[in-house]
Symmetry: C2
Subunit: 320 residues, 2 copies
């Protein structure tokens, strides 16, 4: 295995130390929770997290204007309820705490348990579950992927405005049905803690509908040009979306350079133009990754002026 690893059992701990060294507004508590140093403002606190391996998600979004704490499990492994509880307690305010959870069985269960433990300590807490990945037909089982980053920013914006816990939750819940993502990979990720690839692809194959934990996709195809790949992903998204104006994210899976993501964005815009769709805002970069996977996802969020205002608002994260 060729990865930049020292002791693979310490990979996440080492990474969190490194991320925190590079951002003096952060600190690590309870070994695996990144929190803002200037927390405890008089506003709804936002906690997210999940398995590691998706950097900059979620630790990189712990910032004024986004989330207040990120609970970081081992690579592709849900954090335990006690760690989530530590995060909640560290940032809880009288306004309450909103948990932003990606829809994976382990995450949902552990955040739920942490919520119950928090309530026993008289902390006001609620949650939203992000499930934007359309690769899975059954809506109950859809995974939370890149759209989660939009949720961090939009929730962060409303929390900063002083909205109540129920109001912030309602704002996020209005976003969720209007946000859809699908991804693809040219190469699987190599998991540094195991030395294994998530799946294997031939030299001329690509995988459509991958997850962000090295999960295989929904089908495999011979490699195509970018315009063809974009059309393929958009065809899936068009089964789900409503309207003709969208906020768009072209998200890199971690191992794909910005140059290639920009090429994707250029052909996605061409596709939009051909279909008379409007791209009101475009994000291109590594927002929610799967270690060093080569590939990208497209997220479409139905346009709303308020969402643009939220996404344009200043946040202190250098990753958004």
């Amino acid at each position: 295995m060729k990865k930049l690893v020292n002791d693979k059992t310490q990979f996440v701990a080492d990474m969190l130390k490194g991320l925190t060294l590079a951002d003096d507004t952060h600190e690590v508590i309870a070994d695996s929770v990144i929190v803002r140093k200037d927390r405890k403002k008089d506003k709804v606190a936002l906690v997210s997290g999940g398995g590691s391996g998706h950097e900059p998600a979620h630790a990189g979004y712990v910032a004024q204007g986004m989330i207040d704490a990120a609970v970081c499990g081992e690579v592709f492994t849900s954090p335990t309820p006690d760690k989530i509880l530590e995060a909640i307690k560290a940032v809880a305010t009288d306004a309450g705490v909103l948990l932003i959870v990606k829809n994976y069985a382990g995450d949902v269960m552990n955040f739920e348990m942490a919520m119950e433990l928090s309530e026993m300590e008289d902390i006001k807490v609620d949650r939203v579950i992000v499930a934007d990945d359309i690769a899975i037909d059954n809506k109950e089982q859809r995974r939370g992927v890149a759209g989660t980053v939009f949720v961090h920013k939009i929730a962060g914006y409303y929390a900063e405005q002083g909205l109540s816990l129920q109001e912030v939750k309602a704002k996020v819940e209005a976003v969720l049905p209007n946000m859809h993502t699908i991804g693809m990979a040219l190469e699987p990720c190599m998991v540094p803690t195991t030395g294994q690839h998530g799946f294997e692809l031939a030299a001329d194959e690509m995988e459509i509908g991958i997850g962000i934990h090295g999960e295989k996709g929904i089908y495999r195809e011979k490699m195509e040009t970018v315009d063809q790949i974009v059309a393929r992903l958009m065809t899936e998204l068009e089964k789900e979306i409503e309207g003709d104006k969208f906020i768009v994210m072209v998200n890199g899976m971690g191992g794909t350079p910005l140059s290639e993501l920009a090429v994707v964005a250029r052909y996605l815009k061409e596709y939009f133009d051909t279909k008379h769709l409007q791209m009101t805002k475009l994000f291109v970069g590594n927002y929610m990754t799967a270690l060093d996977m080569q590939g990208f996802s497209i997220t479409l969020l139905k346009h709303d002026d308020d969402y643009v205002a939220a996404l344009d608002s200043k946040a202190a994260s250098k990753y958004f």
Copy 2:
């Protein structure tokens, strides 16, 4: 070749369109020059560029507080003098234009010719040459690599302060001898326009002292743990540096995820502590890449309070 490419002869043009779609403060002129829309301020204008493939360098640093134009050649290919001239003319002010050139024969020659052509049009223009890569012993032949991004920001800061062309040049020239970089790769880059790797490495080998154009390094070693790799690179850097306080960049080569770069940063900090060196500022991310190369470089800039102020100052680039 598995790369996100449509027509490989259009790779750079497609990429520039995509980058510009994602940043509405930019526009593309003369097919390959990225310029600020709100240019022509009453300050020294800064122009940089070179071959493409180093994204976000240089196009992503075209922003208030950094550079005013980036001339983007084909992948790993110097831009031609006429394109550089277009960039100069587009941003030139009465205060003059400073060219920030990386030390490669083609770049130096073409920027020099463009400078002569500009002078014939009565544009006041000067240049600085960045040569921070210590992998090459001969100082005349040292390449400009990741440190160039620090130069963009520091020069941008002084230009914004209203310093004259000669003053900005002098500030940058004071930085250059105090900035040193060395890089390594786990995997070479795949050049999307040729389908070729820059070099080949065995499954258990790494390359030390690589360039940012797929150039081979100065030597090859069996893969090591991060602390060993960091010690190896620092041993080279310590032959060059003076002092004990440094501004540090851990720069990803494009295909290495943020998680691994953060692990590098953590062990670099440990090395600094062991050697009683001080890290006064730390940058971790993809700043000056070589397409999808897996690896990183370390840049050390001798500490100066003014440089920290410059690097901390607000810039509108989302990549710095």
